[in-house]
Amino acid sequence: MEASKVIHAIYTDDDVLMSAVKTVRAEKYHIEDVFTPFPVHGLDKAMGLAPTRLAITAFLYGCIGLVFASAMMNYIMIQDWPQDIGGKPSFSFLENLPAFVPIMFELTVFFAAHLMVITFYMRSRIWPFKTAENPDPRTTDDHFLMEIAVHNNEESLTNLLKTTGAVEINIVEKDEDAH
């Protein structure tokens, strides 16, 4: 696979990074990615990323959990082995509903939370034992890194990045097969 060139611009402050992202986008350059040591509020909007659809999946997972819990309690307590608990020998799901509500609630939360995390991992393409993708270990400490693709415009791009307050600008041959 063809190796492509990218520029790594490194910043040491999230506010400087935010304004740099806005400047670079205003100049119509394409930002490949930004690596930060912590979530920077509003960065996704500044980069022009599409809004996440994770919330919609969470709602759907919650609904699945609710249905699962209802069906489960109906099978256990009404169909398979009806029991007389606390003087309530009712064989109707609806009449026993209040007792099932806590379970329905818990499983709704359980499904929504766990499946949402798993979805997030899959969507972000991360899994156990995967080699880290971040190009510079300092981005896990106190540095911010902006990655921009280079198409024979190294000079103008470097000059632009210098004006945005980058502390370090590196041009890197990026091997697509490396990760």
Binding site: G42, A55, F59, G86, G87, K88, P98, A99, V101, P102
Partner: protein, 454 residues
């Protein structure tokens, strides 16, 4: 940013009060059209109109002397029926319920609007105590709404004073004389001590309200480097919250729970708190959106509305959590003296009781779940109206079963009372809003709040 209550709004509020007063007056006259002389005839007539409303159908059953007698023994006015050797006849019992209705309707509406302003006062104190950065642009709106705490609370106490045993059965000496359970509680439940307590609660709340408003206005006029008024407000807000959480709880036992003097629930104070908190926040959102639509409050942005809507959403779920906690434990334990409370509500108040859960839980949950909808003013207004109606029904369900039994209806007395207090509330709140600029410009967090962005 000056605001003066517009003539149209003032006229509207006065019209609401007049219409409401007419409705209330009609309710009192109408309820006394049935008396000792014609009650037998009234009940006989009723049995001809089979199934006119669901509620009347229940009444018919009673006439035939079936089933309901057992239940009657336990719920609310069961206190009356239990009286040994002083068994009330069915006619007398129905007559009491009919006569109680306009008082109870008035009381429900008065308490509902009062609790809105008290809920806002608690929210306001929390903002100060937490030194919240997002909300200071809304402080003047909140201060306007809390101006109703004192008049609203006094009216509630006044209604108690006048209505007496029409609402609070333990204020009837004949009932107490024959009821050992109420006798045991009479050192707490007696009218003098009830009134003194009520005045202490109200005194504390409105004293805090008075000084926090005073310091908030003084902070506007103070030097830019002088935050002493803000600091005073921080301190009294923290102290108020401690006072509030105790007195609010006691107020809920006194003013609401004691209408069923045999019944008690340990989380009732929280439950009422959740109701007043969510109603209060909803009204902050509604008033803010109204003022914004008038071109005022241009410093309030989408994110402030978004945050209020998040609170409406969250506290609605909190309310449901408490409602269900109270319901499920009592339902599961099934102890007769406790469960009678819910038996009455499920049998006689099925629609308002479960309808309220749908309005207060399902609607806000589904309407306000989407993040984007929380920023659309008309959407928030729609959800807010549903929430407010739901919490009116909540108070209705707390008071009515003990006072009018199965003879409830949302008719002229109830709607009239609502209109009257809505008019009074609007009049007082918006007049107070016009007294000071709408931006608390001296608050040290005001810049942060103006730039608040989610």
């Amino acid at each position: 940013m000056e605001y003066k209550i517009s003539n149209r709004l003032r006229t509207g509020a006065i019209i609401l009060m007049i219409l409401g007063a007419l409705g209330v007056g009609y309710g009192f006259i109408d309820s006394h059209s049935v008396n000792e002389d014609n009650i037998v005839e009234f009940l006989a007539n009723e049995s001809h109109h089979d199934g006119e409303h669901a509620t009347e159908a229940q009444g018919v059953e009673e006439v035939h002397g079936e089933s309901t007698d057992d239940i009657e023994k336990d719920h609310g006015h069961g206190a009356e029926a239990e009286v040994e050797g002083h068994e009330l006849s069915h006619e007398e019992h129905v007559l009491h319920q009919l006569h109680n209705r306009p008082y109870a309707a008035l009381y429900v509406a008065a308490f509902f609007f009062f609790m809105i302003s008290l809920g806002v006062l608690a929210f306001y104190a929390i903002q100060y105590a937490a030194q919240a950065g997002w909300s200071p642009v809304l402080f003047r709106v909140m201060e306007g709404i809390t101006s109703y705490v004192l008049p609203g609370g006094l009216i509630v106490l006044l209604i108690v004073l006048v209505a007496d045993s029409h609402i609070f059965i333990w204020m009837d000496e004949n009932v107490v004389a024959h009821d050992a359970l109420i006798q045991n509680k009479s050192s707490w439940l007696n009218k003098t001590w009830f009134m003194i307590r009520g005045l202490i609660f109200l005194g504390g709340w409105s004293t805090y309200r008075h000084f926090s408003r005073k310091f908030s206005v003084a902070q506007d006029l103070a030097d830019i480097n002088d935050n002493s008024n803000f600091k005073k407000n921080f301190r009294i807000s923290a102290a108020f919250l401690v006072f509030y959480i105790y007195t609010e709880s006691m107020m809920s036992w006194d003013w609401i729970m004691s209408v069923d003097p045999h019944w008690f629930s340990t989380l009732f104070g929280w439950y009422v708190f959740a109701s007043m908190f969510v109603s209060g926040i909803t009204v902050i959102a509604l008033v803010t959106i109204y003022l914004k639509s008038k071109g005022l409050l241009e410093f309030v942005n989408d994110s402030h509305i978004h945050d209020l809507a998040k609170f409406m959403f969250g506290i609605s779920i909190f309310w449901t959590y408490l409602w269900f906690s109270q319901f499920m434990l009592i339902w599961y334990a099934n102890i007769p003296e406790e469960v009678t409370y819910f038996v009455t509500r499920i049998e006689d108040y099925n629609l308002p009781f479960f309808g309220m859960v749908a309005l207060n839980f399902l609607f806000p949950l589904l309407l306000l779940m989407n993040s984007d909808y929380k920023r659309i003013p008309w959407f928030v207004v729609m959800a807010g109206v549903v929430i407010l109606f739901g919490h009116y029904l909540d108070i209705f369900n707390m008071i009515m079963p003990a006072t009018v039994g199965d003879r409830w209806f949302i008719g002229i007395p109830e709607i009239g009372s609502m209109l009257f207090f809505a008019g009074l509330f609007i009049f007082i709140v918006f007049t107070s809003l016009g007294k000071h600029p709408l931006l608390a410009k001296g608050n040290p967090f005001i810049k942060e709040s103006e730039h608040f962005h989610y």
